[in-house]
């Protein structure tokens, strides 16, 4: 088990000149009046190990940054603290230099510097990182009386302390956060409900407005429209009828107008197709055959000319070159002039063939164009026939027997498309006149109101969905909130059951009260918040009380000390090999002092104990209690007798072992 063996302090708080303290003992008692520097020793160890002194930083809040609480005012600084630690065969040395705001730690093992002194320091004491080690030191290793006593000062202080110490802080924060989110969701739901009510009211109002506008528009225009439509209806040819009784507003007029427009379009298509058909020869196939035949004849003539002409020209030209008084083949005398004249004629005819070839080519080209034109005409004819058929079919589809406009079968015949188009065009113009007779402002208001009504309806739907979602979330949040608090209560109860014996371990030894003899910590749910409150209990009378209400100041100190030491002695993470108790006794009676002294002796059996006290009575008792009983155990006393600007005047001494003679024979 590692042991602190030596501490050196310089320029640190009340210590100016370097001071070295021997700590190589199971128990060290620092005794002396207040203000002589005992707590400085404890602070120096805390600063060295943790790198900070939170209680001093807290005290300096609001003060100027130059007011450094660590650097000694009578020294040049920086502050310095060095601690030697023995661990097995190794001797570690750690030194911190700096100020409250900034300091540096270095370390060595058996004289060799280590790379990461903070990590090495934590590892010596069984921690993986320095932050956790620092927390353990400040929570378990060094007990300052003001911190101990503060645990009972405020209502929630004990809860906060215990919750932090045993990890319950997160549990209660979770429960509080669940409550907060449940409240927020409830508020959100109320807001959305109010918004929905407002939107529903607006929707209702806008619908009423739309209804009123519709009625007003209808009343204003109905007479005009009716008269116009009746006229139109009277002008419709037989077989076409319009139900004017239902055409009372803009929407209905628009609908029937759209239907009439479609009929006009369909009739127009039929007529266009028919015009196309009429422009084309019916016997397109015969025309095509005739054009193809002409093309073939022209092609044949062209071929004949192009094959014949080059051969004749070649023969005549060669013969003219060989021409003489006798035949070059049979040697018979020939009529040279006659033969020459004949060959010249042949060459002249060949010239005519060339001209004929050009003409034949033109004829072929014209015949080809004729064939192409005939084919295009045929294609147009077929397309027009298809369009006419499709338009006729669409006309049949458009005429609805149960619509406002009714057409007899006569009008479905494409042959009457022209009349149908005339009739529908006329009807469409009449409907336009009727629509134009609707008051323009009323139309605009109506349209605007319809848009607004659509918007409010959408908003109502949106808000209803949001509210539905919020209802579900609120229900879940309420369930979670309730369960989170119940869970926190159960977890805290379980934790208190676990740590209860730790409190008793200390409290039962000090027994500060004759009747309230049991100390425990009780969970109290106050306004939905889990609190841990101290409680003392009289088992004889079954009466419980808050010690703050029934205990004296000295007895309360016992309670606070019991909570703290109990936790420190039993927390796994707090299992440091040393414990500093800085002036632990405040206003305690003799019995508590004796009990606490016995407790210190027991603590000394488990870990290195360093106690400071200004209480001479306690110091005397403690010295007797901690006196070694064997030569291998050391108890040191560091006496603080005065303080000067250089620092405290101290004297160290070792308590001599008291060898005992057993009264009883060993069993």
């Amino acid at each position: 088990m590692p042991r602190l063996v030596e501490l050196e302090i310089e320029a640190f708080r009340g210590v100016g000149k370097a001071l070295t303290f021997d700590l190589d003992a199971e128990a060290i008692l620092l005794r002396g009046d207040n203000g002589l520097g005992k707590t400085t020793v404890v602070d120096a160890v805390s600063w060295l190990l943790c790198g900070e002194l939170p209680q001093l930083s807290e005290r300096l809040k609001g003060l100027r940054k130059g007011d450094d609480p660590i650097v000694n005012r009578y020294s040049e600084g920086p502050a310095r603290a060095r601690l030697a630690i023995r661990e097995g065969d190794n001797v570690w040395s750690f030194q911190r230099r700096g100020t409250n705001a900034s300091s540096a730690l270095d370390g060595s093992r058996n004289g060799a510097l280590v790379d990461d002194p903070a990590h090495a320091l934590a590892q010596i004491f069984g921690h993986q990182d320095h932050a956790a080690f620092s927390n353990a030191v400040q929570t378990w290793g060094i007990l300052r009386q003001d911190a101990v006593r503060a645990a009972l000062d405020a209502g929630a202080a004990l809860h906060e302390r215990l919750a932090r110490v045993i990890g319950l802080e997160r549990v209660t924060r979770f429960a509080e956060s669940a409550t907060r989110v449940a409240k927020e969701l409830t508020r959100e739901r109320s807001r959305v409900r109010a918004e929905l009510a407002a939107a529903q009211q607006a929707d209702s109002q806008i619908r009423e407005t739309v209804r009123e506008l519709r009625e007003a528009t209808s009343e204003l225009s109905q007479q005009n429209i009716f008269a116009t439509l009746q006229r139109q209806r009277g002008e419709l040819p037989d077989g076409i009828d319009l139900d004017v009784s239902k055409l009372t507003d803009a929407a209905a007029l628009t609908d029937v107008g759209r239907e009439v427009g479609s009929l006009v379009d369909a009739a127009q298509r039929i007529l266009s197709a028919r015009v196309t058909l009429e422009g084309l020869t019916e016997d397109q196939q015969a025309n095509l055959a005739q054009a193809s035949s002409a093309l073939a004849e022209a092609q044949r003539q062209l071929n004949e000319i192009t094959q014949r002409s080059p051969l004749m020209v070649q023969l005549a030209t060669s013969a003219l070159q060989l021409l003489g008084p006798t035949c070059p083949v049979c040697q018979q005398p020939i009529d040279l002039n006659s033969v020459r004249r004949h060959l010249d004629e042949l060459l002249q005819n060949s010239e005519e063939d060339r001209r004929g070839e050009a003409q034949a080519r033109d004829a072929v080209h014209q015949a080809q164009q004729q064939v192409a034109a005939t084919e295009q005409s045929t294609a147009r004819l077929r397309a027009a026939q298809a369009e006419a058929h499709d338009a006729a079919a669409s006309l049949g589809r458009l005429v609805l027997t149960d619509g406002l406009l009714q057409l007899s079968g006569f009008w479905l015949d494409p042959g009457h498309a022209s009349e149908l188009m005339d009739a529908m065009t006329q009807l469409r113009d009449g409907l336009r006149i009727a629509f134009s007779q609707l008051p323009e402002a009323a139309q605009a208001r109506h349209a605007s109101a319809e848009v607004a009504a659509d918007a409010t309806a959408s908003e109502v739907v949106r808000l209803r969905l949001e509210l539905k979602d919020l209802d579900a979330r609120c229900q879940r949040a309420a369930t979670l909130d309730k369960a989170a608090h119940a869970a926190a209560r159960r977890i805290v109860d379980a934790a208190l059951a676990r740590i209860g014996p730790s409190f008793a371990e200390v409290f039962d030894r000090l027994a500060p009260h004759p009747t309230f003899t049991v100390l425990r910590a009780r969970q109290d749910i106050y306004y939905g918040k889990n609190q841990i409150v101290p409680e003392v209990y009289d088992p004889e009378r079954n009466v419980a009380a808050n010690p703050l209400a029934v205990y004296s100041e000295g007895q309360l100190n016992v309670v606070a000390l019991s909570y703290f030491l109990g936790l420190a002695l039993n927390a796994r993470d707090g299992a440091l090999p040393f414990m500093f108790l800085d002036d632990p006794l405040q206003a305690m009676d003799v019995l508590s002092v004796l009990g606490f002294s016995d407790l210190c002796r027991r603590i000394r059996e488990q870990r290195q104990l360093i106690v400071t006290t200004h209480d001479r009575r306690f110091a005397d008792v403690l010295l007797r209690k901690l006196a070694p009983r064997d030569p291998d155990t050391r108890t040191l006393v560091i006496e603080f007798s005065a303080w000067t600007r250089e620092g405290p005047e101290v004297a160290e001494s070792s308590v001599q072992p008291s060898i005992i003679e057993p009264l009883l024979r060993e069993a």
Partner: protein
């Protein structure tokens, strides 16, 4: 039916378990007493049968114990303890005051008055003798994972997993619960 009370033998056994060398021996003022000894303390235990003679019984026993422990080297004269087990309950405030008076007298020996300790209840007996016994090995409470504990509890409390998971995940990340 009267409750059976712890005997001196039981008290001696508890002290023996606490590291004391124990002896049951007769004393002139009482029928018998337990003497328990460790390097740091000498403990004498007697039974008190009568509230009216209790103070005198304790003083006489203290005298004998002081004499016993004053043999040189007598370093333990500062560490004498007397445990008085009174076999009947206090009859009222007078007896209670008597207990306080006896315990408050720390001359020669520190005194503990214990009343009607039940037989066979080791926990009660150890609690009565706790100032004299070593620190117990209490099962150390572990740092536990609070969110894991919460998840377990929420499940037992029938919170749907999806709700618990979302809440715990967001809390772990932001310290704020969110509800899906």
């Amino acid at each position: 039916m009267a409750t059976k009370l712890a005997t001196l033998e039981e008290i001696g056994a508890a002290l023996a378990d606490g590291g004391f060398n124990v002896s049951l021996r007769p004393f002139r003022s009482t029928r018998e007493a337990v003497i328990a000894e460790s390097p740091y303390a000498v403990v004498g235990c007697i039974e008190g049968n009568d509230w009216t003679t209790l103070r005198r019984d304790v003083e006489e026993f203290q005298a004998e114990l002081t004499q016993l422990s004053s043999r040189p080297p007598s370093v333990r004269r500062w560490d004498l303890y007397i445990v008085v087990h009174v076999l009947s309950r206090a009859r009222g405030p007078v007896d209670e005051a008597l207990i306080e008076a006896i315990e408050a007298d720390t001359h020669y020996a520190r005194k503990f008055v214990r009343v009607a300790l039940p037989k066979g209840d080791r926990d009660v007996l150890e609690r009565a003798l706790r100032p004299l016994l070593p620190l117990r090995d209490i099962p150390q409470f572990d740092w536990f994972d609070p969110l894991a504990a919460l998840r377990e509890e929420l499940r037992e409390l029938a919170v749907p997993d999806s709700v618990a998971d979302a809440a715990l995940t967001s809390f772990a990340q932001t310290n704020d619960v969110t509800v899906p």
